[in-house]
């Protein structure tokens, strides 16, 4: 363990730069601890996001040595090879300042992919009896724990190359709803994910699945959407 870490942090907007700091290394230190140290002791103007700091909210996602990670759950000892850390804002999103990004487009794409539940019953109807062991419910449950941290979006090559692409998170949510037997919005939803920017732009690189801190598999969810849209198209339920 080095006594001092050599830390580069991104400062400024899109046209900012990396600034170097020296931060004392501590036991069980996380990358979030490092960023917080800089803001409290060296540069009070540093902008960054966090909330729970225990790995349940997803607010603290940043690019750490080239990979998007939750900084509160990334131990310095595991990633700071040679005592060096390079920390920047999440990729594929506009930079507001320093380590914070504008996530509006991430959420707008969520809406465009129709990641919104469309109810078919009212409170006067009987409660739906959903068995947890049907294939559809298993598929939905496997993808439902997304907390919108943006890591998959930041990691995705297709997001980087294709501005229209909805991204893994929005499409994964669409898949959970497609698999939800209570939902009535599949006509519009399948149409939405079958067009430009939809599930078919995915190249199955699997960076999303590799890096998701919730162990979700967007590649598999998107593959499910691909199969459903193909079936719907061949049956004439949606158009290209």
């Amino acid at each position: 363990m080095h006594s001092e870490l050599s830390v580069s942090l991104w400062l400024g907007g899109e046209d900012g730069r990396y600034e170097s700091y020296s931060v004392p290394q501590r036991e069980s230190q996380t990358v979030l601890d490092v960023v917080t140290f800089v803001q409290r002791n060296i540069d009070p103007t540093l902008s960054y996001r966090f909330a729970c700091r225990v790995g349940v909210c997803g607010s603290c996602a940043m690019t750490v040595n080239g990979k998007p990670r939750w900084t509160c759950r990334t131990h310095v000892a595991k990633v700071a090879h040679g005592g060096r850390l390079e920390i920047g804002p999440l990729e594929n999103l506009p930079v507001i300042k320093d380590l914070t990004t504008d996530m509006r487009v991430f959420f707008e794409k969520w809406q465009e992919a129709k990641g919104v539940f469309a109810p078919t019953k009212t409170r006067r109807d009987a409660i739906a009896q959903i068995r947890p062991d049907t294939p559809a419910r298993i598929a939905a449950d496997a993808s439902i724990e997304c907390i919108n941290c943006g890591i998959c979006y930041a990691a995705c090559d297709t997001v980087r190359w294709n501005g229209d692409y909805f991204g893994p998170a929005a499409l994964t949510r669409a898949w959970t709803l497609v698999s939800d037997e209570r939902d009535g919005g599949n006509g519009a939803r399948l149409q939405a994910v079958a067009g430009s920017g939809g599930c078919h732009a995915c190249h199955s690189h699997q960076s999303c699945q590799e890096l998701c801190p919730q162990s979700l598999n967007p590649t598999a969810a998107i593959a499910g959407l691909k199969r459903r849209t193909v079936a719907a198209y061949l049956k004439g339920e949606i158009t290209a």
Partner: protein, 99 residues
Amino acid sequence: MVHRVSGLALAIFLPLHFLALGLAIEGEARFESFLRWTDRPLVKFAEVALIFLFTVHLLGGLRILVIENLDWRDGQKQLATLAAAVSAIIAFVFLVRVF
């Protein structure tokens, strides 16, 4: 990325391949002299490279077809990618020996 680059390389090669075959239209003597022209090391090397490119492209494509249509667990996918890489290398070595 390998999949994409090999696809692009094949896409560039194919028109040339078609043009070469089209030489047969001019009669078999023209085609024969072309075949003899290809009997040189540089061309043989290019042919081997092309077979390697198309092999990786094919195996990458099969990987995608499997991921998108069959229910594979995550560890199996990495194994499959590894197996594909190994078989591409084996195919490559085998072909080098043939030529």
